[in-house]
């Protein structure tokens, strides 16, 4: 079998997703037997010009949000050359944390960047930023998504196997495929490509795979994590913490909530949820243990930065109001 030609790139992001490509245990030593990585600035030190030397690619992993002109150019060029374009991580899939910049009206600091920059040649300039941060699918056509911040190891491993035709032992495969929807899991096991546009994640909410005990949800105060965590194994939302599992796609296996950390929503919204913010408003409000307008108001005043919390990883692509305001209806 010939080696697959691959490109891996991070646009505006933290490069942790690129690390997860290497986080596949012992299989990492076999990576070079199946992959011929032609473009990977992070590990191989490739320059942007190196893209021009590539004729075609079997698949590309694109991580990070599209925030600058160069992010967009690389996205377009990789799309042209790749048979399969895959987003890896919440930033490329949904816009991610860099997307929160959309909450501010932006302008470039003129003295540092842009065409009319006044600066000596010796000072490097910042790249020009786009008016709005975008997820990759808002810029080019995307074939598959691997969400997460960063994506969990089993999902990356499943994706690598799906695209490389790398057949590993059955036990490895079942572990990787166990959290995926049946259509994807079966495709990987039988060695064909999963249906186009599928997401390497589950279909339900994180609560479906969370191990905590869910009872009646009632609390009368909003708390931060450090103020109120009891290691009782009870649902974190019931304990008065903002856990976004209910508005977040499953696939991680509830690892954060299992360790006692409220879900932050890095897998984006599940298909059944219309708007994650609205879902969280509904979920949190239903737990308020009071009926008087004054008391409810007092609790609500304690919440800070609802947008940054509910849309932490997906503001540019999954916040319906912002999408409408952008004109992407």
């Amino acid at each position: 079998m010939s080696k697959k030609k691959v490109a891996i790139y991070t646009a505006t992001g933290c490069r942790t997703c690129e690390n997860t490509v290497l986080d596949i245990h012992y299989q990492v030593s076999d990576l070079s037997r199946y992959f011929d990585v032609l473009f990977w600035p992070y590990v191989l030190g490739s320059q942007l010009e190196d893209q021009d030397k590539i004729d075609d690619l079997d698949f590309s992993f694109y991580a990070g949000a599209v925030c600058t002109e160069s992010d967009r150019q690389v996205a377009i060029r990789l799309r042209e050359k790749s048979k399969i374009m895959v987003t890896i991580g919440a930033c490329a899939s949904f816009g991610g944390m860099p997307g929160l910049a959309d909450l501010l009206a932006r302008g470039n600091p003129e003295s540092f960047s842009g065409d009319n920059a006044v600066r000596p040649e010796s000072i490097p300039c910042l790249p020009g930023t786009e008016a709005q941060v975008s997820a990759l699918f808002q810029v080019v056509d995307v074939d598959y998504d691997i969400p997460g911040c960063p994506p969990t190891q089993n999902l990356v491993w499943a994706a690598i196997q799906a695209f490389s035709g790398w057949s590993a032992s059955t036990s490895n495969l079942s572990c990787a495929a166990s959290r995926l929807p049946e259509s994807i899991a079966q495709a990987i096991v039988s060695g064909v490509l999963p249906p186009r546009k599928s997401m390497f994640a589950g279909e339900k909410a994180v609560c479906a795979s969370c191990s905590r005990i869910k009872e009646e949800k009632k609390f009368s105060d909003a708390k931060r994590f450090y103020e109120n965590y009891e290691a009782t194994g009870r649902c974190l939302l019931e304990q008065g913490l903002i856990c976004q599992g209910i508005a977040t796609r499953e696939g991680c296996g509830g690892i954060c909530t299992g360790a006692g950390l409220p879900c932050r929503g890095c897998f984006g919204k599940p298909p059944a949820v219309y708007d994650p913010g609205a879902k969280m408003v509904s979920a949190i409000s239903s737990t308020f243990d009071c009926e008087k307008a004054g008391e409810i108001k007092k609790i609500v005043e304690k919440f800070n930065d609802l947008t940054g919390t509910f849309y932490r990883y997906n503001l540019p692509s999954q916040c319906e109001l912002l999408r409408a305001l952008r004109g992407n209806l």
């Binding site: 949820v273 219309y274 708007d275 913010g277 609205a278 879902k279 408003v281 509904s282 949190i284 409000s285 239903s286 308020f288 009926e291 307008a293 409810i296 108001k297 609500v300 919440f303 930065d305 609802l306 947008t307 509910f310 916040c319 319906e320 109001l321 912002l322 999408r323 409408a324 305001l325 004109g327 209806l329």
Partner: protein, 139 residues
Amino acid sequence: MNQFEPKIIAFLCNWCSYVAADAAGVSRFKQAPNIRAIRVFCSGMVDPGYVIKAFASGADAVLVAGCHTGDCHYISGNIKALRRSFLLDKLLTELGVEKGRFRLEWIAASESPRYAEVVNEIASEVKKLGPFLPSLASH
């Protein structure tokens, strides 16, 4: 120049506010013609998603109207609507929806004058605020 005519989505509870709206029409109270009424069984079933979807689809204001406290046909549905309204209002404000575009009101079946009053208030307020999504205003 054409005057801006806002689109106002009103979620009216079947047992109180919808009856009031009906009676307001029958009684020929003067009301702004900007309301698009959606009859729901209870104000408690109006998910925050419905409100956000209304705004995202081009509504300029959203009114949720239900029974007074203690009068709910389903015992406490209107309390559920009340609980959600504050957090929803806060989220909408953060996302750039001005105060006055989202409103929760209690209108009993017998309060048709009150219904007409609320409708007129919202319409005049939103006319001052202008369209929520300028690009959709012409539709």
